[in-house]
Symmetry: C2
């Protein structure tokens, strides 16, 4: 079956010059990737960095054409896609730096010693790549969280080979970005099978089940992510599955902040919840606002700002349908009041939706539909009269990727809200919006279930490389049989912990 590319703006369907990958073909691809992984793991860190930089350059070479293809498949617009491609190239080069830094290898040496347990042998520990990493890119970032995105970059940085399952909403973009990555790898003399691309639902299942695959990275919906997570766990040898799923991302406005900056926050929230047509996993979906005049002013400003926005084109008809059914679930809760609502749009069209509910009604059993992510330009305002009401409502919301707190200067409610947010999310934001996830050393993109399937991991930033590694200790090993980084002379220059003391 030919792979189809759909233009969400025009509805035009174009068959690509590629077939869906059969499970038998997936097995061949993964076997080739496994041979590549064994080769890659043995190459020096400097080579690995060079390959990542080469891939970034090739993406830049194809930049204008890649943006055109992606815009046709996603309707995200050239400026946004140009920025996303810059971010994607930056990310590849950032991981080249992470590789060169080398501290992700956590190299540690304990020379033979006496201890209260008796004599201990020479022990040397380092992290080793997991082999072949399967990657499921997301629909909403056709570059930065798709074929050339963070999972691919971090897995290659870890020394793994990668098999990407193309997202059905942008197969032509997937093929075009893959071609640039593959060229970048070839230019550095990477082994065949370093990066690989497969198409189709059945191919994705086969990828998670392949005995050659050592770990999976996934960005996407809760339903698809959980199904694949269960598949990974049901293997004869289960493998790590890093699913970055959705979240409702609460944003709390204290009484003090509402008094100080009602209009500013209302307008800012409108911008954040509709950025990219609300198709961000960090979209703020729950806005906790105090009852009373200041809160009313905030909501008024928010409603006004949303009213001034035009319509959006969603990434695909399926995503638009899912959005409308989410909106309908919210609307159908009897205690919910519509603030910005109307008749649904057709096809891939959408416009902003806003609803309001009292904190006690949010807590009530009937309202579980209100707590889930609604992917798209919709949000729910939860009005609270007391801190007790606010606390109960927050504890009812699902744990999430982010948690934002808007507070006044010297606000007595700031500290407990920040502490609560840290216990319920992966990123706590003071006076800011959760959309926008920069690539950096200190970024965390991942939170407690159901935001991610593995709460200890991140899918953005330097630490995302840790997902693709496993520690190995070498005991009493002759120097010449050790990996370079564990040899006494340490030809890599990467910092190590030696006899308990870390030194640079």
């Amino acid at each position: 079956m030919a792979v189809l590319s759909v233009n969400p703006s025009t509805g035009e369907i174009r068959p690509l010059d590629v077939e869906e990958t059969t499970p038998a073909q997936v097995d061949e691809v993964c076997a080739l990737a496994a041979r590549a992984a064994a080769d890659l793991a043995a190459r020096p860190l400097t080579w690995r960095s060079e390959m990542l930089r080469s891939m970034a350059s090739e993406l830049e070479t194809d930049g204008p054409q890649l943006v055109t293809v992606a815009d046709q498949e996603t309707a995200l617009g050239r400026p946004r896609l140009e920025g996303e491609l810059r971010r994607t190239c930056f990310q590849l080069r950032f991981f080249a730096d992470v590789v060169a830094d080398g501290m992700f290898l956590a190299a540690s040496i304990d020379h033979a010693q006496d201890s209260p347990m008796g004599p201990l042998p020479d022990l040397r520990r380092v992290k080793t790549p997991l082999g072949v990493v399967g990657v499921f890119g997301s629909s909403n970032f056709p570059f930065a969280f798709s074929v050339p995105g963070g999972d691919t970059a971090s897995a290659l940085a870890a020394g793994c080979s990668v098999v990407v399952k193309a997202h059905p909403a942008h197969p032509a973009t997937s093929a075009a970005t893959f071609a640039a990555l593959a060229r970048g790898a070839d230019l550095c003399g990477a082994p065949a099978g370093t990066v690989n691309l497969i198409f189709g639902l059945a191919a994705g299942t086969a990828l998670v089940e392949s005995p050659h695959v050592g770990a999976v990275g996934f960005t996407g919906s809760v339903s698809a992510g959980r199904a694949l997570w269960q598949l990974a766990n049901a293997r004869p040898n289960p493998i790590p599955f890093y699913g970055e799923l959705g979240a409702a991302n609460p944003l709390v406005v204290t009484v003090g902040a509402a008094r100080q900056r009602a209009e500013e926050i209302g307008k800012g929230f409108a911008g954040s919840m509709t950025l990219g047509a609300g198709q961000f996993c960090t979209k703020p979906g729950l806005l906790f606002v105090p009852t009373g005049g200041d809160g009313d002013s905030l909501v008024h400003a928010l409603v006004g700002a949303l009213g001034g926005l035009g319509g959006f084109t969603m990434l695909s008809e399926g995503i638009a349908e899912h959005f409308w059914s989410g909106v309908e679930s919210i609307r159908s809760v009897s205690s919910v009041r519509p603030l910005v609502d109307g008749t649904p749009n057709d096809g891939t069209g959408a416009s902003a939706r806003l609803f309001e509910v009292g904190a006690d009604d949010f807590v009530a059993g009937e309202a579980t539909a209100l707590r889930e992510e609604c992917f798209g330009p919709a949000a729910l305002v939860v009005r609270y009269a007391t801190n007790d009401e606010l606390l109960r409502a927050i504890l009812c919301a699902e744990k999430s990727l982010t948690f934002s707190v808007f507070a006044a200067t010297d606000d007595p409610d700031a500290a407990w809200l920040v502490e609560l947010g840290a216990s319920r999310s992966g990123r706590v934001i003071a006076d800011g919006y959760p959309t926008g996830v920069g690539v950096s050393w200190s970024m965390q993109h991942g939170g407690p279930w159901p935001a991610t399937t593995a709460s200890g991991s991140t899918s953005v930033g330097a630490a995302s490389i840790e997902r693709w590694l496993r520690p190995v200790t070498y005991q009493s090993m002759p120097d010449e049989l050790l990996p370079d980084i564990l040899r006494e002379a340490n030809p890599t220059g990467v910092p190590r912990r030696v006899d308990g003391a870390f030194s640079l």
Copy 2:
């Protein structure tokens, strides 16, 4: 139902002055532990270290009595148990050092900056404790891998509270060691519920299912570990489950090593496979020996050494029964030859068992029973004629905790075997036996499935603390709302990465 303590040497059964914990009681215990965890997480690292040292001191105070109780319940003998208690106290103090070191927190600060993605806000990342940790201790180490063992020590070091489910093979030892830990905590003013002890199978299930529990550590059998792992994954909010299960732990002797040191290796292997009656998860269960005269000499020495050993008392009748059924599975494979065998012992009695099979027969389908761990003093010798046969046989064995390679000086087979071992285990040992797992910075005790449920983790050594933590990033946070370690002035003194550069 009263908890029963059984003496495996005499068969005497003694009811303890404690009842099995009901699921409702488990819920209360876990709720208390959750309140303790919130308190503990906020205490300074120096206090945490002090509590761990205090616990070690209290265990030492009770030392002679603890050893007596443990010997009555395990028949492991006073010298072994005295050594194990020393190790346990050393381990608590070691984690006090790990806490003081603080690098496990992975603190990282990126000040606000410009980037190709546009301006980035101030981002500060640190690891935060998961809350309540459930611990399932093992039967075979009543101190070091049980109530006061590595999971408890590392979880407390991470800032978590702990609920231990006592192992039914040593409930009195569990209660006695728990009393010392609780006293150590009290002396430091730890909150009620810092450490907790529950009894009974139903209590264990309730522990894994408790909404208050954030993670579980388990050391024990493959069957129990997998059942609890599935339970943890089936929760409405799945939690990390770190199961350290069994392994067959291959030990390979090259042609060169057999030529050089047949007798020495044969004798050494006999000691390692029968240490603690073979009741170690690192017991070498598979011995790959070349065919021919040198290999024959090695096997001859091994058989001789085993013949010179007396009988053993296993930890419990259940473990003895399981051992004999494992032996029967091996014996019943038609291609297997008995080398040391005889009539099974009664009750908790056991003696060493050794079998031999050709590499090709080991690979054959019928022989899957030969690849699993047989917990107790049994091992299987696999004879290989060529390196191809050896490779095929190793690839058929299950992945494991350890992989040992005995090679000659400048042995042409050393390098590929070490590399293969690193791809199939968590610890590769040159010319040594896998039994004996020292507590140190560079130890790795954990390997690919089925050896552990989470291949990226270790249950021994400094890195075992990482299992009980989750990263959180604070964005644009006012200094006074940050955890101490992320404040600009860093009152903790713990090293951090700042703007990408790590400094001490």
